[in-house]
């Protein structure tokens, strides 16, 4: 309802309001300013109805006002929604609701995709993608069109205005309705100056407005033509660029959360307490209290007690419960007699192949009374029976049937001795065919043990112990998982990905290198070797810088994975929690369970404690070895470069060809990591008749090793494997792990003591496990029988070797190529689109008829 003011008509009125919803209009004045004023005339002629003073204005949106605008937009959306629900919305409001629907739909998509993703970062990226898409939709016209237009033409073709009804609209959206009157003369003249509209033309304002209209229309059209391409590209590029930061952020919070687990473990582990074990045990007790305990119940109890632990512990608890609850005796009631009768009857039929007539069958089968007497005479209804006693009664039953058969034969039945034997034996050992319950099963269906109050109490106590232990185990598992699991978004994954990505930069691997090698692991391996040689043969400063960079990246393990913390506090906590649980279990008679949790006498293999520790140990070893092997490779190459006569591994001056073979095998092993798979990978082809006269040093040219004799391709045709040359193997292993770390490498690692320590440990272990002649790849070729078998396990070898470096680099190169290819394609596409959009701006506003039109005015 609109209210019109009469104030302008009746001057001197104190407050005069006409409201057409009022029954009366009372006008009160204190002076006769208009003695001839006639309200009827005014109303008839509607002279008082005239537009309200316009309130429309340009909306000036700045960064600071953005939050306020968002709130206002939300308010408008809510108002529009309310109006539309009641059917009173206008076109503007319905337009707003379309935008709202689009956002709700987009949110629906993001939420669904979020629910389907596993890793937190990819989950988060669904919403970031949603936000990036809508932001790109809004940003593209502003940045690619509005901003350049403002710089070039002096005005923004995408400005908005708010009309008198408070509706925000695009100022230039409708080419045939542009509210230019909202722009002041000053604004127009400022734009006119920028648009180089002559000062001395008639109707200059109109000329400027016309040019502005034209430029705005051209921008609006270009927006429509480009937005479809630009929005998806821009949003995908935004997501691509944002993802590493999201990963960092996630990692920061995840690490903080996980590290907190160990801070106050007794408290934090309580967060993982689930009442399910206690509830389930209570339910089982309620259903079975004072009833006999059978194996099914034991199974149910074991499952309920170990629902968050592994099967190994479950087996332990099952064993303990059986030992504690089942005494091997059974209760037999008169109810079981008819079941026995049915079963005996079926068994006789089955054993006789259904050949007995009904009368004969009836005479052979003991009747219910006979069975009852048999059991009663043995006092089976009044005492608990052992398995032996049950076996005895089954024998008696068989004898009874045998007597019945004899009687039947005496009365004319012709049951053969063979059939008679089958029948009597079938009672004790029912045939596999048929679905008849054996007599033994019937008699042992109800163990004599009862779930009495003492046992109930023990179970409740056990549920408490297992609940506490499960919570602590879950907390520890959570810590271990987030630190070291082979899964996206763990600390290990973050560290690994960051490091491998940084390798591309550290090794100066160019786009061409990636293009040329990505298809083959062998090519990657060769390129990798060349790159390391380049660095190893560089001057001291460059080499030092290179080693420092690698060490700095490796040392990030302290930031993300924190191995010291894992080996220290975490391992102690594992020991403490597991031991505490085992002690409590042992004290309550659950010796087997305790054994399966911690083991006995420090023998933790096959226990939960052993599995937990091994998981941590193996993972840490693997990751440390992988990254130490890079540093080791660099160090070995530097040592070779600095001592090309290889005097540091051999006192005698070796022939050059042998030296080259040693270096070539070192190159191969440090790149492709064949230590762990020597059956197929450790084969190394050598010259059967090497040149023994040339004892020159190893040669280098163009920053890499230059082989004069060693020719891998040629050796593929004529080379041999010298299995018995243990000395050669020793020299290679000595070169790789035995000789002291190069002094320059040591110097570079001074400030990275943890990395230096890691390298030393790696070299020492490798020398012992892989480089020891006990572990020589051809043990059968060693004559000394006492030292021919390896004590290292394949698992140990594999963990120490880590991931082969060529594999690491091949994967990194592949991922980098894919990512770069995608990025390059769309950066190029986006760049061209942006370029065209920007250049177009210079062509806008060039009206060919402009001069003609202006001169004709």
């Amino acid at each position: 309802m609109r209210t019109y003011s009469l104030e302008s008509f009746i001057s001197g009125a104190k407050q005069t309001v006409f409201n057409n919803s009022m029954a009366d209009v009372e006008l009160v004045t204190y002076r006769k300013e208009k003695p001839n004023f006639d309200i009827n005339q005014e109303i008839n002629n509607r002279t008082f109805i005239r537009p309200l003073p316009p309130k429309g204005h340009i909306v000036r949106n700045g960064i600071l006002s953005a939050p306020l605008n968002q709130v206002q937009n939300l308010k408008t959306d809510i108002t529009s929604l309310k109006a539309a629900v009641s059917g009173e919305a206008n076109d503007y409001q319905l337009g707003k609701l379309n935008d709202l629907g689009m956002k709700i739909g987009g949110l629906g998509i993001a939420t669904y995709l979020f629910s389907m993703k596993h890793a937190p970062v990819t989950k988060a990226m669904e919403f970031i993608g949603f936000a990036a898409f809508f932001s790109s939709m809004a940003l593209w016209p502003r940045l690619a069109l509005g901003l350049p237009a403002r710089i070039i033409h002096g005005f923004n073709p995408f400005i908005k205005y708010e009309d008198s009804q408070g509706r925000k609209k695009g100022f230039f959206s409708d080419n045939q309705f542009i509210p230019f009157d909202m722009l002041s003369e000053k604004d127009i003249n400022r734009v006119g100056k920028r648009l180089h509209v002559p000062q001395d033309i008639p109707n200059r304002r109109e000329a400027i407005e016309e040019k502005m209209r034209q430029i705005a229309l051209q921008n609006n059209t270009l927006w429509m033509l480009t937005a479809g391409f630009a929005t998806p590209i821009m949003s995908s590029l935004i997501c691509n660029r944002l993802e590493p930061y999201v990963e960092d952020l996630h990692n920061f919070f995840m690490n903080r959360r996980v590290d907190n687990i160990l801070e106050d473990f007794s408290q934090t582990s309580k967060k993982y307490t689930s009442k399910k074990i206690i509830e389930d045990i209570n339910n089982i007790i309620e259903l079975n209290k004072d009833k006999s305990i059978n194996p099914e119940l034991i199974e149910k109890l074991s499952s309920a007690l170990t629902q968050e632990l592994d099967n190994n512990v479950k087996l332990g608890i099952k064993q303990d419960l059986s030992d504690l609850f089942l005494d091997g005796k059974f209760k037999i009631s008169e109810k079981q007699v008819s079941e026995m009768y049915q079963s005996v009857s079926e068994l006789i039929k089955l054993a006789s192949d259904n050949k007995l007539t009904t009368d004969v069958l009836r005479s052979v089968t003991p009747n219910i009374e006979q069975i009852k007497n048999l059991l009663a005479s043995n006092e089976f209804f009044t005492k608990s029976c052992s398995r032996e006693e049950i076996s005895g009664i089954i024998s008696q039953l068989s004898e009874l049937i045998a007597r019945n058969i004899s009687d039947a034969n005496a009365n004319g039945a012709s049951i053969s001795p063979h059939t008679a034997k089958k029948i009597t034996m079938g009672i004790a050992n029912p045939p596999a065919k048929g679905n008849v319950k054996s007599i033994e099963n019937i008699l042992t269906a109800s163990p004599a043990s009862i779930l009495d109050s003492d046992r109930q109490m023990l179970l409740r106590k056990l549920a408490g112990i297992m609940t506490e232990f499960s919570a602590e185990n879950t907390a520890l598992n959570k810590y271990a998982y987030h630190k070291l699991a082979l899964a996206p978004d763990t600390a290990k994954a973050k560290y690994w990905n960051d490091f491998t990505k940084s390798l591309i930069k550290i090794l100066n691997i160019s786009h061409e290198d990636i293009e040329n090698t990505r298809l083959d692991r062998k090519l990657v391996s060769k390129m990798f070797n060349d790159k390391i040689w380049q660095k190893a043969t560089a001057n001291e400063a460059e080499y030092k810088n290179f080693v420092e960079t690698i060490a700095a990246n490796i040392s990030q393990i302290e930031k993300y994975v924190k191995p010291d913390e894992i080996n220290g506090r975490f391992m102690s906590q594992v020991e403490e929690s597991f031991s505490a649980a085992a002690t409590k279990l042992r004290n309550n008679g659950f010796r087997n369970t305790a054994k399966r949790i911690t083991g006995e006498n420090y023998a933790e293999a096959g226990t939960l404690l052993g599995a937990t520790r091994a998981y941590i140990r193996d993972n840490l070893t693997n990751i440390r070895s992988t990254f130490s092997s890079i540093l080791n490779k660099v160090n070995v190459y530097r040592s070779i470069y600095k001592n090309p006569d290889l005097s540091f591994i051999s006192a005698e001056n070796l022939p050059k060809e042998i030296k080259e073979e040693i270096v070539a095998l070192a190159e191969y092993l440090t790149s492709e990591g064949g230590y762990g798979e020597y059956a197929v990978k450790f084969d190394f082809l050598r010259n059967a008749n090497p040149n023994m006269t040339d004892t020159e040093k190893i040669s280098f040219s163009n920053g890499k090793i230059s082989y004069n004799y060693y020719d891998a391709k040629e050796l593929e045709k004529s080379g041999i494997i010298k299995k018995s040359d243990v000395t050669f193997f020793k020299r290679v292993m000595n070169l790789l792990f035995g000789t002291p770390v190069n002094q320059e490498t040591k110097d570079a690692l001074v400030q990275y003591s943890s990395v230096s320590g890691m390298l030393d440990t790696y070299r020492e272990k490798m020398l012992n496990v892989v480089g020891n002649t006990e572990n020589y790849m051809y043990p059968d070729s060693i004559v000394d029988n006492s030292r021919r078998y390896s004590w290292s396990s394949p698992k140990m070898n594999s963990n120490l070797t880590g991931t082969p470096l060529d594999d690491v680099l091949t994967n990194t190169i592949r991922k980098t190529f894919n990512s770069n290819k995608w990025l390059k394609t769309y950066c190029k596409f986006g760049g061209i689109l942006l370029g065209i959009t920007l250049v177009s701006q210079f062509l806008f506003g060039k009206n060919p008829n402009y001069k003609k039109e202006r001169t004709s005015v």
Binding site: M102, T221, L225
Partner: protein
Amino acid sequence: MDLSVQKINNVNNNFTAMNINEEELKKHPVVIDNTFSNRMYIGWDKFTNALTMYPARGLKGSKNSNFYEFLTMGIIPYIAGSATLMAIFNTNNKFLARDKKMASQIGKKMALGVLFYGLAKSLSKNLITYPVKWLTGVDTEEPYAELKFKLPENISDTDITSLEYHKVLESVDFPRWNVKYGDESKNEPRNMWFDKIAEKTGLGKNLKDSDQDVKPLVKEIAVKSSLAKSISSYMWAAVGVAMAMQKTWDGFFNMATINPLKFKQFAATVGRFVDSVFTSIGELYRGPKNAGSFFKQHSGKMLIGAAAFSTVAGLANVLLNRNKPSRLTSNDVIDKNRKFVVD
């Protein structure tokens, strides 16, 4: 201006096919039967204009470029955006075979998602439009053609007509009631359409001024239908994307061909596609096997439920939650015979 000599220049003139009388069109806007084929003709005409004539006019900065053309050009970002999104998800032709397979498995699904988004969004509007039409007689999507006359661009410009397709209830502020009045020169009752709506909506028969009674109601139906379509269509579009993410499509993409010359395989592809559409709805509803979390297991159900709810609630609001017609009371009217003294 003698309109009879003016030729209506339009990229695709399908007046005969759409049963539009060209001579009448020159005099006034003409309502077009809201049939599937007519919608296709209109859509195609608008689409071709949006790609050719309207951008040309806009880039020139023509005075004749109007808001209708600007809005019609909105189809370009839709088409280009969909194609670009599909391309972005499938830029993997230089990848190694293994990476390519993995990337295209997701990429093809995403591309299908883009397609299903558009289809579900368009088709789901019918879930509102048709029930409303059947139960109230109001076709909220009824189109009409209108000839617009432009200013000549230059002295030799004789092509001054432009054909626009609108919907009668496109604007709730200014519905084109004029096209819904009967043509009395053809002995049609003036309020023919309004009488029909009044009867169908229960306002009554033989109303004195049925148009005055019906207009607020039709406007209300148009507003509420628009709300229902705005929200539900995007929810169904989200269901479309989610459908495309289901496992069944992996099998489909492994066997599909787009080459109709391989007739047998192509026919099998079509069959499998239809089958996969239904299977994907089932998979979306049931959730993945061993989902591991309640949300993951039931998010598909929730999405379908939200879309279905938005449609049902939207329809219920249109059909059941109708405002009562406003009645003027004496308080609303100024009594002209009353004396007002300005003292």
